[in-house]
């Protein structure tokens, strides 16, 4: 199977002061197949969104920049594209939906206007045809009386409906890759399941590769085929979803899974990982997770762990190797 999206050795730096930079994400390798979902999971500040924005080339101008690696879209390295070429890729080949549907749609234009705009940027189509096609898209994402909705403003729709509009818009150009950046975080729990279900259905129907960013392991279990666990701007574990849940190897993945409240256990207090993700500027010298890891050794504190391949799994931890060298550095 071909991978429409492949990222190799991506590194993104952020400017934090005059001639001062921090590395936001490093050594990101990933690939997504058509009709499959790659789930990216981790706490806030682990570099999930930075990775997505880097792929869309939507890093804040003059602040974030891709310093190394390549992003291959159908084999074409889009980090080398001109801004004009990128513009034609955005929305056409890669679409994106965002966390907060309440603010992601422009409040002063009707839903129809924004849907039609998307279509007309990327293809020669009359306003009338674009209107009809948009109505069909709204129908596809399960919006009742789509024709009336076209004339409504975003504030007249509920959060779930707006996210459906965003999905309709993102998929209207039949992109090869859909990046969903926490698409359900801002929604009601009941709506969350519907939206995930919708994304899953459409993914199969349109054979789109989906990159699903979330901090919710439950969302991963429900939607992802492959999972990439990120911590402190690095990939700490990468595996298919079933083996990852059955046999989590990285201590961070284990902690994340332990944090899910379980109905079959009677616990007074929910499990949580101690501490918070350190700021990008104060990442520990060795393993980034060493400050919070329960199995941390001296080696972890001072030296960066290598990425070890075990079967189909990639894991970045000293536990699984006898090697003394740090190949990544």
């Amino acid at each position: 199977m071909s991978s429409p999206l492949e990222v190799k050795g991506l590194r993104v730096d952020f400017k934090v002061g005059k001639n001062k930079y921090v590395t936001a994400v490093k050594d990101i390798n990933l690939s997504i197949e058509r009709g499959k979902t790659l789930g990216i999971v981790g706490e806030s500040g682990c570099g999930k969104s930075v990775t997505a924005n880097a792929i869309m080339q939507l890093l804040p101008k003059g602040i974030g920049s891709i310093e190394a690696g390549s992003i291959l879209l159908d084999g074409q390295d889009i980090t080398k594209c001109t801004p004009d070429e990128i513009r034609q890729i955005r929305g056409k080949k890669i679409s994106m939906i965002f966390q907060d549907p309440m603010t992601a749609l422009n409040p002063v234009y009707t839903v129809g206007n924004q849907l039609i705009e998307m279509l007309r940027v990327h293809q020669k189509i009359s306003r009338k045809d674009a209107f009809e096609y948009s109505v069909k898209m709204l129908e596809k994402v399960g919006i009742p009386s789509p024709r009336e909705r076209m004339k409504e403003y975003p504030h007249q729709l509920s959060g779930g409906m707006r996210q459906r509009v965003m999905i309709a818009m993102a998929l209207s150009t039949e992109p090869e890759v859909l990046i969903a950046d926490e698409p359900t975080t801002a929604l009601d729990v009941t709506i969350q399941a519907q939206i995930l279900e919708l994304i899953n259905q459409l993914k199969v129907k349109t054979n789109t590769a989906v990159m699903l960013i979330t901090h919710d392991m439950g969302v991963i279990a429900e939607s992802a085929d492959d999972v990439m666990v990120m911590y402190g701007g690095e990939v700490v574990e990468y595996d298919e979803v079933v083996p990852l849940f059955e046999n989590p190897m990285h201590p961070y993945t284990r902690d994340l899974l332990n944090s899910i409240p379980r109905l079959d256990e009677d616990r007074e207090e929910l499990y949580s990982i101690k501490g918070t993700v350190p700021g990008l500027a104060d990442m520990p010298k060795g393993c980034h997770f060493s400050t919070r890891c329960t199995e941390c050794t001296n080696k972890c504190k001072t030296r960066k762990p290598p990425t070890v391949q075990i079967g189909g799994k990639l894991v970045k931890c000293w536990k699984y190797t006898d090697r003394e060298d740090t190949t990544d550095e």
Partner: protein, 316 residues
Amino acid sequence: MLKFIVKRILISIPIFLCITFAVFVLSNLAPGSPADVIAQAGNLTEEAYRQLEISLGLDKPIYVRYAIWLGDLLKGYFGNSTTLYAPVSYLIQKRIGPSLLLTGTSIVLATLLAIPLGVIAACKPYSAWDNASSVVSFLGVSLPSFFLCLVGIYVFSVKLAILPASGMHNPGDESLGDLLRHLLLPSLIVCVLNMGSIVKQTRGAVLEVLGEDYIKTARSKGLKEKVVIIKHALRNALIPIVTTIGMLVPMLVGGAVVTEQCFGWPGMGSLMINAISTRDYNTIMGCTVVISVSVLVVNLLLDILYTYLDPRIKKG
């Protein structure tokens, strides 16, 4: 919508009464009266002075005088000017045209120049462009208008001798070209004086909107940056910009007082200044009525306009 407009007009009535009453009382409490100004011309006996006061109605208490003035106003009568010997309505009619022309031209110019400048500054914040436009804006806002007028007259009328320094027409020349030549310098100066606030407001509003999620959505759709800025960002930033421009409109009617004085422009501003210095109560009140009504009308129009600019603002 109609209900909203009627409600707003009803609210405007007490506001209008407050404004006119305050101005009426303040101008009447100021030392000196129209009788004093007239008396200066000839040596009046005490008796004649009192007669004059009675004929001007100045013997009555202030609130009675206000009531009489208000009653006249409702009949459409503004009173007569006590120094210019003409009905106030006639004076205003003659002066409001030139004022509208001068300030109208400058507001249009200021808007056309300031919005693009503000947008460019917002797109490249803290760049050389942005800093330059900041400096120019602050200069425009903070320089006293008489200073700019004098510099303008010195450079263009005295040194370069390409533009006239005073008036609306050369004597005997009523052509449009002549009018435009007279209009150019004062309207440019009024434009520079007012541009700063629009530039700053545009920059601030657009910069804020550029951080919104829907701008990111617009970019992720693959729209051209020009479309992102103009269609998505500027359109959302319009409310504060339109408000700022709306605030300039009262000046449109009231005239640019100092600039009109400097250029001998026969507008409302100079009429009002003369009326104040000669305690010409009726003319002062006439100008007050025109200006306050225009402020109230503009505010109403702005509120109606908002509902079109932002569909989230409910009509009614």
